[in-house]
């Protein structure tokens, strides 16, 4: 897996949410869960052609989708924030891949800091790290995703795994990965995954 550049804590709502098909009225974009920026408040530049494509998919649909059918506002996408997940870096990486002249299969990873506007307690911090992996190739299936996850977790010493259907705005199908914790004697969630929406 090749490491993706993730050295930007500040991200625009566009890359963090809109390009990942997260609707503009989604609760996660609320003041409560995301750190929005006072200064710089708005991203000066958004990729022009791509932005209009994203607008169309949200408001009317496209690529086989019905879309969300609401009025998509570019001002909302410009709002700067501290990224809530490293998937925004994955989106950027995939965008760069798409602009390559010839498609080459890739495997990307990153391990970096993310920020969520939460009160601190025993199990929550406002800043924490995420491990993210992306595989792009022709003919990949859900079975492949499960295979990679199993290998990854086995290397970490976690081998008892179960997969549960889940929901992410940007992946469909989505799966939460659960592992049996011997100490707590129950299944705990160890990861989230999915196949990116077309």
């Amino acid at each position: 897996f090749t490491e993706m550049p993730t050295d930007n804590f500040v991200e625009s709502s566009f890359w963090n949410f809109d390009a990942l098909f997260q609707p503009q009225q989604h609760p996660a974009r609320d003041q409560h869960d995301t750190f929005f920026l006072l200064d710089p408040a708005e991203a000066p530049q958004l990729p022009p052609g791509y932005t209009s494509k994203v607008k169309k998919v949200h408001s009317q649909g496209g690529y086989g989708s019905q879309g969300y059918r609401y009025e998509w506002k570019v001002e909302e996408a410009r709002k700067n924030l501290l990224r809530t997940h490293t998937t925004s870096a994955s989106a950027r990486a995939l965008f760069r891949l798409a602009r390559q002249e010839k498609f080459t299969p890739v495997k990307y990873f990153s391990i970096d800091r993310v920020f969520r506007n939460e009160s601190l307690d025993a199990t929550h911090l406002a800043e924490f790290h995420q491990v993210e992996g992306v595989v792009a190739d022709r003919g990949l299936t859900l079975g492949h995703l499960m295979g990679i996850l199993r290998q990854f977790f086995t290397k970490l010493g976690i081998s008892q795994l179960r997969f549960k259907p889940a929901y992410n705005p940007y992946t469909e199908p989505s799966m939460e990965v659960f592992s049996y914790h011997e100490g707590l004697k129950k299944w705990v969630e160890v990861g989230n995954s999915g196949v990116f929406r077309p």
């Binding site: 550049p5 050295d7 930007n8 804590f9 625009s12 079975g143 259907p165 889940a166 077309p198």
Partner: protein, 569 residues
């Protein structure tokens, strides 16, 4: 219980907790108060955010029963009443400014019991919180149709002109009085701001001037639903027409089960200001054609088209094979507003097949792996700094304004810092522009450790940068501090020399690094130097100013080094 847990897991729900009313009250208020509370087992189930049809018991049970093939998915029908007999909701142009859209429907001859009634109210609340975004996008009002008579008018009037008896109150109030009345209500006060400062408030009347409701705040008492209600008029008003339609579809499909003619809904007509009319609820059934081989390929299984059709039907997506077996026609019912693309259908097929039944394979993708050069350099330096006797620290990237400015003797505007708009505490006001405060705070928290304390951190700082597409960027800094009875300037200087040696940067001006004496507010005057390399200033080192030391609640001398390592990648 385990069986139900398994079922939920397979279906995609999370069985959060198995408890009872008694347990809940015990935990919150103590065992005394719990005496007499119900012992009946309650399941707390977590429903995914995009499945509005599973938000009530009726929908959940229906979904699970179809999944287990115990029942067939009911067919939801809308009945269009004869000309002139149906209910009409007329929207006037005044609503355009504040709440332009409305949809309506009627549930005829419905029978309520206490559980069904509670479930009905509960579903409205859940929808309000979820898809309606706390009533901002859509507000639901349900009324006893026998207490009012249509046609109904949805308009907007000045607050002083609206007067009615709100739900469960004993007297009439004007709209402005209602605002004041509910200002302290723990539930309703959160919605007041949606209409409070507008010149006109939305209101729905019947043909006799009886107020049905003032969305999104409260319904009128006159039309309140009781266990004896037989006919229900439902109206959803809002700013997003797509969501209003979805909400209406969900409510009527869920509760039409209890109508005399089960799963039938009586349509209502909505008249727009421009004269156009529309029949609601839409209850649209959409069909999508998918290729069975496409589904098989995406999941990694190989099922026959007819078994795929069976799997999808179990997920409430009635399907059958068409053509000569290479297409499936999938019917998407109005309860599944979350299906917007073929990939959603693929996911449902996978869920019905059972995620854990899918064979796990490794992709045959061959790629050559690379570490990002900046991270590789960081890792190497970390090892060597630790070898030099310094301990690594990992500190927060967010801090207070004082940490990066006042405590270091600088003005905040000079720091070019990125500022947060909505911090929960003062500790997260800005993104750090220097690693120094983090390390100083770490020392302050570890004063009891034996001296000397030698810490380092190699991590990102954030500054504003108008040249990037978002307006800010990260720089990878290396910061080391030495805290002891004597400042240890020579030790920090030695560390810089060691780092440069590792980076193979010679100590001369033309093609290497040099240090020149300089001044900085955070450092002791006369004991501060600026580091130059690769033609630019990359950082500073020196003895920390006593003021700074005191402001960070420390008592011993301290010297520090901070440089940007990106030029060396």
């Amino acid at each position: 219980d385990e069986e139900f847990d398994e079922l939920c897991f397979e279906f995609g729900l999370e069985l959060d907790e198995i408890t009872s009313e008694k347990d809940i009250i015990s935990k919150e208020k103590g065992q005394e108060k719990a005496k007499g509370a119900s012992d009946v087992i309650l399941y707390k189930i977590d429903v995914p955010a995009n499945r509005y049809d599973l938000l009530c018991l009726e929908g959940l049970v229906r979904g699970l029963q179809v999944f287990k093939e115990r029942i067939n998915l009911p067919r939801y029908e809308k009945i269009i009443p004869a000309e002139g007999e149906g209910q009409r909701l007329i929207i006037t142009e005044q609503t355009a400014q504040i709440r332009p859209h409305a949809v309506a429907a009627v549930l005829r001859n419905i029978t309520f019991t206490k559980e069904r009634y509670d479930s009905f109210i509960d579903l409205q609340e859940k929808l309000h919180q979820n898809i309606c975004r706390k009533r901002a996008l859509v507000a639901i009002g349900t009324h006893d149709l026998d207490t009012i008579s249509g046609p109904f008018t949805f308009t907007a009037k000045a607050p002083s002109e609206i007067k009615f008896k709100p739900l469960n109150q004993s007297q009439e109030y004007t709209a402005s009085q209602i605002m004041d009345l509910y200002r302290t209500d723990s539930h309703l006060r959160h919605y007041l701001h949606l209409i409070e400062n507008k010149p006109r408030y939305p209101v729905i009347y019947d043909s006799n001037g009886v107020v049905l409701s003032m969305p999104p705040i409260i319904n009128g008492d006159h039309t309140k639903i009781s266990l004896n209600t037989r006919n229900v008029f439902i109206e959803c008003t809002g700013t997003d027409i797509t969501k209003a339609k979805i909400v209406l579809d969900v409510i009527v499909t869920m509760f039409s089960e209890y109508c005399e003619k089960p799963f039938t809904v009586e349509a209502a007509e909505v008249v727009y200001p421009n004269g156009k009319t529309h029949i609601y609820p839409e209850l649209a059934y959409r069909t999508e054609k998918v290729k069975p081989e496409h589904i098989n390929k995406k999941i990694g299984i190989s099922e026959t088209p007819s078994s795929l059709a069976k799997l999808l039907t179990r997920m409430c997506l009635k399907s059958h094979v068409i053509g000569n077996g290479n297409h499936l026609e999938v019917e998407i019912p109005p309860t599944r507003a979350d299906i917007i693309h073929a990939c959603d259908i693929v996911e449902d097929a996978a869920i019905a097949y059972g995620y854990n039944n899918i064979q796990m394979v490794i992709p045959k993708t061959y790629t050559i792996a690379n570490q990002l050069p900046l991270n590789k350099l960081t890792e190497l330096l970390r090892l060597d700094l630790a070898a030099a006797g310094f301990t690594e620290a990992l500190t927060f990237a967010l801090c207070s304004q004082e940490d990066v400015a006042d405590k270091l003797g600088m003005d905040i505007s000079a720091t070019n810092a990125v500022r947060i708009a909505n911090p929960k505490t003062a500790e997260f006001q800005v993104a750090r522009t220097t690693l120094l405060p983090g390390l100083l705070k770490t020392i302050a928290a570890n004063r009891k450790m034996p001296l000397p304390l030698k810490l380092f951190e190699i991590s990102d700082i954030v500054v504003k940068d108008p040249n990037t597409d978002v307006g800010a960027r990260n720089y990878r800094h290396l910061c080391a501090i030495y805290y002891s009875k004597s400042p240890g300037f020579e030790i920090i200087h030695g560390l810089l020399d060691r780092v440069m040696q590792l980076l193979e940067v010679p100590p001369n001006e033309e093609n290497g690094y040099t240090i020149k004496a300089s001044e900085a507010s955070a450092f002791f005057p006369g004991r501060c130097a600026e580091v130059f390399a690769k033609g630019q200033s990359i950082g500073k080192l020196g003895v920390i100013h006593p003021d700074v030391i005191t402001k960070f609640e420390l008592t011993m001398p301290c010297s520090a080094l901070e440089i940007n390592i990106e030029p060396f990648v």
